[in-house]
């Protein structure tokens, strides 16, 4: 269990990025695209904060990076989820879902917002 917490926004961005990598390695652009596609453009990743977030995840050991060749033969930096990162993702996702579920409950309870 991780003691310290990210900044809320950064925390969720980190979580989202980790989830993105659950399916396999991706480069930064692909991660941003995946998030937009998966949320139907509701969530847009700020590119300016994406890369710092990626670095921080690297520092914490949740992901590793390696250079490789992209589909159009350009040199790109690919990120991979580590075992530690996988465990962290699972735990944090559970907490987040629990937390957001509770908030949803509150917001849905009487008196109604409508």
């Amino acid at each position: 269990m991780v003691e310290e917490r990210f900044d809320l926004l950064q925390g969720t961005l980190g979580l989202v990025v980790l989830k993105a990598l659950l399916g396999g390695e991706l480069h930064g652009y692909a991660i941003a695209r995946w998030v937009e596609t998966t949320t139907g453009d509701v969530l847009r990743v700020e590119e300016g904060s994406l890369y710092p977030a990626l670095r921080r995840l690297e520092d914490r050991g949740f992901i590793t990076a390696e250079w490789g060749l992209s589909e159009n033969n350009r040199r790109a930096r690919y990120y991979v989820l580590t075992a530690v990162g996988r465990r962290y993702l699972k735990a944090e996702a559970a907490r987040w879902l629990e937390f957001s579920g509770a908030v949803t409950q509150v917001l849905r309870a009487a008196p109604s917002l409508a």
Binding site: G24, E25, L26, H27, G28, Y29, A30, A32, E46, E47, G48, S49, Y51, P52, R55, D59, E66, W67, G68, L69, S70, E71, N73, R74, R75, A76, R77, Y78
Partner: protein, 883 residues
């Protein structure tokens, strides 16, 4: 989406360069921007618009890029440092493991290093403590000693009060000048037993000049220099602790000094000792009025402080002007110049040459030791060739091998350094008590911070000298050559063997230089020792007496005291003869004067002479032969006509056929004295010093408070000490004796410095010889070990054992020959530095060169003996074995 993941090797190395991080970051961002741009193009935007849109979408590209760069940079640096630390740790551990695995190597190398580092550090601490360390005063380079110099004669002399008074008044370069007299005796009789304290009489200005402030109380005021106010004293810290129990209340109290009640006004700080550390108290120097009557000779010392910013040249120029003015004013000052010497140089200048020669010798020793360690490392490197070859095959780079090689040396060097410092401490502890008593500043010798810094620098230099070769060698050992040699043992590449041979040759050369130097000094020492002093120093005792002027103000009283002592000591059983002299021969004190001969040839130049005040029995006591005329008699007392005795050297100055007896001479402004006798010349200044002719005065006619008794005894001289002390106390119960020594000891002491120089150089040369022979033995033994099969083959093919021994010896002799040739050339070039130290031989003394070479040759042959025997005993069947 998978691409080729593995990066080529060269890309990995680029990572260490800073520009690559920048490029990587830029590339990652660039990729993202391009993908974005393409996405927008696919949506229908024009390329440029798409690019701009991509940048806008991204946000502040430069800020992000900057952040990323800084982050990656930091990470890279931290990782790099971690790698380096790891690598170092690993190599150090490997080094320690290697040392443990090869104990013989470790012991040999460590001992050699410890010896070299220890000897060098010990020698440097002597050089630093005596020569280099600044004097313990504020701004010590402003302090100078003031001397009387003569325009037409060489040498320097004590200053006269009159001259110093005028120099002080007329100069523009001194902050102040202080007159003083050192070596003053003070008789202290507080607790029954009279004790003689060594002190100095000084002007009040001495303490401000030295910037010395007292610990308790005060120093002198100017009016305490006047007669009548001078019964005050300042104690040294050591005396204060020893005699007065560090009691601050002693200040203000009176103590009996020289029979006079003297008030203690202050105590100096610990560590302050001027003019030398043995001084126990300071009294004011009062200059009697008649001292100002003679200018051309004096008996004072003077020290001065230059004004800030004044250079030595400026000061000398100013003093020259002052001296010239005085020369015009006073006839007596015609020849006189004021001379100044920086204080430190004055104290230790004469020791510069011998000490630096010894330091050079010990550096040679160190180099020889380093060569041994290098050879040991190369030999070890040899045996690790396979390991290195395998490592290279597994991917270790050359740089890594070099780095490994040097780091593995660190534990060995650290061990050697620690042991070396320890050795230095031991060496100093043994050496310092043996130093001659007159060697100045010996209290400063020790392992101070600058000395340790020097030791550290030496270790670093050794690391380079010793570590470079094996490292280069390791780097050069390619896989191919290494693996190729796995199949059979060899002596290593010819290049490597040549390096080792070259090192041995160099060692032999340096050793020969040291041996030659040591032999030259040894011959000099023996030559000096063989010089006859002109008197008989055995079975004779010297005892010093100093009676206080306050108790014996009249000349007649002084004479009466000493006559009483002489009579009583002569009457003691076991005494053959007794005399007094004011300065012992070879005792270190000089008393020179210019001589005047009555009716002398106007143009004749009469030399400077040594004068002594003696008693009639002196010549018998010292067994100085009487050559003509008579000795002094009891009739030559204070009221009788003044007499003198000269030595044969002065007597030769008279034209042959005439006798000096009956002629009259005098010194300075004294009354004329008639020559009554001629005695043999003796060595006064030193056995190696052909001193000036001598003139003796009779003590009743020239009374001195300080005289030394010289007693010739029938049996052991020292046994009479207590009876002599008792005899003195019979005359004056409060009078102590001091400095009791046999004359043999006095003569030996005069040789003390020379003996020490010779001994040290001999020790260095011997140690060098041992190290070099060990080194030569190692190389030859190793060579034999490598050639065992070859020898076996030869013997099997019919060669005699003698032939094989001859082969080994030939190698040894070749090494010796080359080394000796180089060494002789080096020695011939450098031995001239010894010219100041030699006596009786020239530095390029053929016999010394030959002796040293012969010794070295014998040792070299001995070093070959064991390996040669091993070669001769080779079992020929070894030739049949295959590897």
């Amino acid at each position: 989406m998978s691409g080729e993941r593995r990066e080529p090797m060269w890309r990995r190395y680029r990572r260490f360069l800073r520009s690559d991080i920048t490029a990587d970051v830029d590339e990652e961002i660039q990729f993202h921007l391009e993908m974005l741009s393409r996405h927008y193009e696919a949506s229908g935007l024009a390329p440029e618009t798409a690019d701009r849109a991509a940048r806008d979408r991204f946000g502040d590209v430069d800020r992000v890029a900057g952040w990323l760069r800084r982050h990656d940079w930091e990470r890279e640096r931290a990782r790099h440092i971690g790698e380096v630390m790891n690598s170092i740790r690993h190599n150090l551990r490997a080094g320690v493991r290697a040392l443990v695995r090869q104990p013989t190597f470790t012991v040999a190398a460590t001992l050699t290093l410890a010896l070299g580092i220890g000897a060098t550090t010990a020698m440097f601490s002597v050089v630093y403590g005596v020569l280099l360390r600044p004097l313990p005063f504020d701004d010590p380079d402003r302090l100078v000693r003031v001397w009387t110099l003569w325009r037409t004669a060489s040498g320097r002399g004590a200053v006269s009060a009159a001259n110093v008074r005028d120099w002080r008044a007329q100069n523009h370069v001194f902050e102040d000048v202080a007159l003083f007299k050192s070596n003053q005796s003070f008789n202290f009789t507080a607790q029954g037993e009279p004790e003689r304290l060594l002190g100095a009489s000084v002007w009040a200005s001495l303490f401000p000049i030295l910037r010395a402030s007292p610990l308790v109380g005060r120093t002198f005021t100017e009016d305490e220099n006047e007669i009548g106010h001078e019964n005050v004293v300042v104690l040294s810290h050591r005396l204060w602790v020893r005699q007065f129990g560090s009691d601050p209340a002693i200040v203000g109290k009176a103590i009996p000094l020289n029979g006079v009640s003297t008030t203690v006004v202050g105590v100096m700080r610990p560590g302050f000792g001027y003019p030398n550390p043995d001084v126990e108290l300071w009294a004011p120097l009062t200059v009697p009025a008649d001292e100002y009557n003679h200018r051309s000779w004096g008996s004072y010392s003077a020290v001065a402080r230059l004004k800030p910013g004044v250079t030595l040249e400026q000061a000398r120029a100013d003093l020259h002007v002052v001296s010239s003015n005085l020369a015009r004013q006073y006839a007596d000052n015609k020849e006189i110049e004021a001379g100044i010497t920086p204080l430190l140089e004055d104290m230790v200048g004469r020791l510069e040459q011998p000490l630096f020669i010894l330091l050079g010798a010990v550096a040679g020793l160190l180099l020889i030791g380093c060569a041994n360690v290098t050879n040991l490392l190369l030999a070890r490197g040899l045996s690790r060739r396979r390991e290195l070859a395998v490592r290279t095959a597994l991917g270790a780079s050359r740089g890594r091998l070099v780095e490994q090689s040097i780091t593995e040396l660190v534990p060995l060097l650290a061990l050697g350094a620690v042991l070396g410092v320890f050795t230095a401490v031991l060496a100093l502890r043994a050496l310092v008590p043996l130093l001659p008593a007159d060697l100045p500043r010996t209290e400063s010798i020790g392992l101070s911070l600058p000395v340790l810094g020097f030791a550290a620098a030496v270790v670093i230099v050794i690391a380079f000298l010793v570590g470079i070769w094996p490292a280069v060698d390791a780097a050069r050992s390619g896989v191919a050559s290494g693996l190729a040699e796995l199949s059979r043992a060899s002596t290593g590449a010819p290049r490597r063997a040549r390096v080792r041979d070259a090192l041995v040759i160099a060692q032999i050369a340096v050793t020969l230089v040291l041996l030659v130097g040591a032999t030259v000094l040894l011959r000099s020492f023996l030559a000096v020792r063989a010089v006859s002093p002109g008197f008989n120093p055995s079975m004779a005792l010297s005892v010093h007496l100093a009676i206080p002027q306050s108790k014996y103000p009249l000349d007649a009283q002084v004479t009466q005291f000493y006559s009483g002592v002489l009579d009583r000591v002569q009457a003691l059983p076991g005494v053959v003869a007794v005399g007094v002299v004011n300065r012992l021969p070879l005792g270190g004190g000089n008393q020179t004067a210019g001589l005047q001969i009555e009716d002398a040839d106007r143009d004749a130049r009469w030399p400077n002479i040594q004068t002594r005040t003696v008693s009639p029995g002196y010549f018998r006591a010292l067994e100085i032969p009487l050559k003509a005329g008579r000795s002094f008699a009891s009739s030559d007392d204070a009221d009788a006509p003044r007499v003198a005795i000269i030595d044969e050297r002065l007597a030769k100055m008279w034209p042959p056929g005439t006798s000096p007896i009956g002629r009259r001479i005098r010194e300075g402004g004294d009354p004329w004295s008639t020559i009554v006798g001629v005695v043999g010349h003796i060595q006064h200044t030193g056995l190696d010093n052909d001193s000036d002719p001598q003139v003796y005065w009779n003590y009743p006619q020239r009374p001195q408070e300080r005289l030394a008794l010289v007693v010739r005894t029938r049996s052991t001289p020292a046994a009479l000490t207590s009876s002599i002390a008792a005899a003195v106390r019979e005359v004056d119960p409060e009078q102590p004796i001091h400095d009791v020594r046999t004359l043999d000891a006095v003569v030996d002491r005069s040789l003390g410095q020379r003996w020490l120089e010779t001994l040290l150089l001999a020790v260095f040369a011997t140690v060098a010889l041992v190290l070099a022979s060990v080194g030569a033995y190692g190389v030859i033994a190793y060579g034999v070990g490598q050639r065992l099969r070859e020898f076996g083959v030869r013997i099997a093919l019919g060669a005699g054992r003698r032939t094989v021994i001859g082969m080994v010896l030939r190698r040894g002799v070749t090494l010796f020959g080359l080394g000796a040739a180089l060494g002789l050339a080096l020695a011939a070039a450098t031995v001239r530095v010894l010219s100041a130290l030699v006596y009786g031989v020239t530095p390029r003394d053929t016999l010394s060169f030959v002796l040293a070479t012969v010794v070295l040759f014998l040792v070299s042959v001995a070093a070959c003996y064991l390996p040669a025997r091993r070669a001769a005993r080779v079992d020929p069947s070894i030739a049949l074995r295959s590897e």
